[in-house]
């Protein structure tokens, strides 16, 4: 039962990622992989929100698993981020340090800040 729930929510999360990253990437019209970045930062915000809520309230395990492991697990992604970062590094152009900062360090720092914001908001709820 739990596995089925994780699977269904994971499918919805992956579909949401596919939809959001596609829409964002088309709207921005840039070679920078902004679609994956927006997905991952909103995913981190959601995970922080969940963490903040769980810290202050008792949440049923099944709800936490459905939202955290299932949906957010299917929604956010690490592999796409890494492959896009490698492709960006290989595409040439600006300095390697600048690209590494843009594609690796900034998304990471922004992810932790997004969790923090979510955590604070989740504590207020």
């Amino acid at each position: 039962m739990t596995w089925l729930l994780i699977g269904v929510m994971g499918a919805l999360g992956a579909l949401a990622r596919y939809g959001v990253s596609g829409i964002v990437q088309r709207r921005w019209q840039t070679t920078f992989p902004v679609g994956t970045l927006v997905v991952n930062l909103t995913g981190a915000l959601g995970a922080g929100l969940l963490l903040g809520i769980v810290t202050g309230h008792s949440v049923p395990d099944l709800a936490l698993i459905a939202a955290g492991v299932g949906f957010l697990g299917g929604y956010s992604t690490f592999s796409t981020w890494m492959v896009e970062a490698v492709l960006a590094a290989e595409s040439g152009g600006r300095s390697g340090v600048r690209r590494a900062a843009e594609n690796l360090a900034l998304p990471m720092a922004a992810g932790v800040v997004a969790v923090w914001i979510g955590f604070v908001l989740g504590g207020i709820v």
Binding site: G7, V8, G10, G13, A14, A47, S76, F78, M108, G111
Partner: protein
């Protein structure tokens, strides 16, 4: 998005749009990827390891396989148009995680484990990038 999933059983195959079949493949892959990661998480924790190892393992191996897949697919003229949605976006996309990883780093900072709060993301991104690069190099070889 959901109606396209239902339509797989409601309509004959020819009437299902390409976009609908792609979405179905992403959804099916997403379910598989998330369950695979949850199983690995259970195994790692049951074996007495810190859960951080599970996240490191899935993210690094997932990046390697996605690199392999993307490079291999670029050189293929006859592969199915559903391979990337199913395996790349669906399975490997959902198998790896950014949200849990970010929460783990945030928790390391919050609990004051500053050494690990810096070293864990450095190791994760360093190994993940190296794995994706290795996959792309190996997959691009003919």
């Amino acid at each position: 998005m959901v109606p396209s999933l239902l339509s797989v059983t409601d309509q004959p195959r020819a009437q299902i749009s390409v976009a609908g079949r792609r979405r179905s493949a992403v959804a099916a892959g997403g379910a598989i990827g998330v369950i695979l990661r949850a199983v690995i998480g259970e195994i790692v924790v049951a074996s007495g390891f810190d859960p951080l190892w599970a996240t490191l393992f899935v993210n690094v191996t997932g990046s390697l396989f996605l690199g392999l897949l993307i490079a291999w697919h670029t050189g293929q003229s006859r592969s199915s148009p559903l391979v990337i949605p199913l395996v790349g976006i669906g399975i490997l996309g959902a198998f790896t995680t950014f949200s849990l990883f970010s929460v783990e780093v945030f928790e390391l900072f919050r609990t004051g484990d500053l050494w690990l709060a810096v070293m864990y993301p450095v190791a994760m991104i360093g190994l993940g990038f190296a794995a994706a690069l290795t996959g792309i190099r190996l997959g691009g070889r003919r």
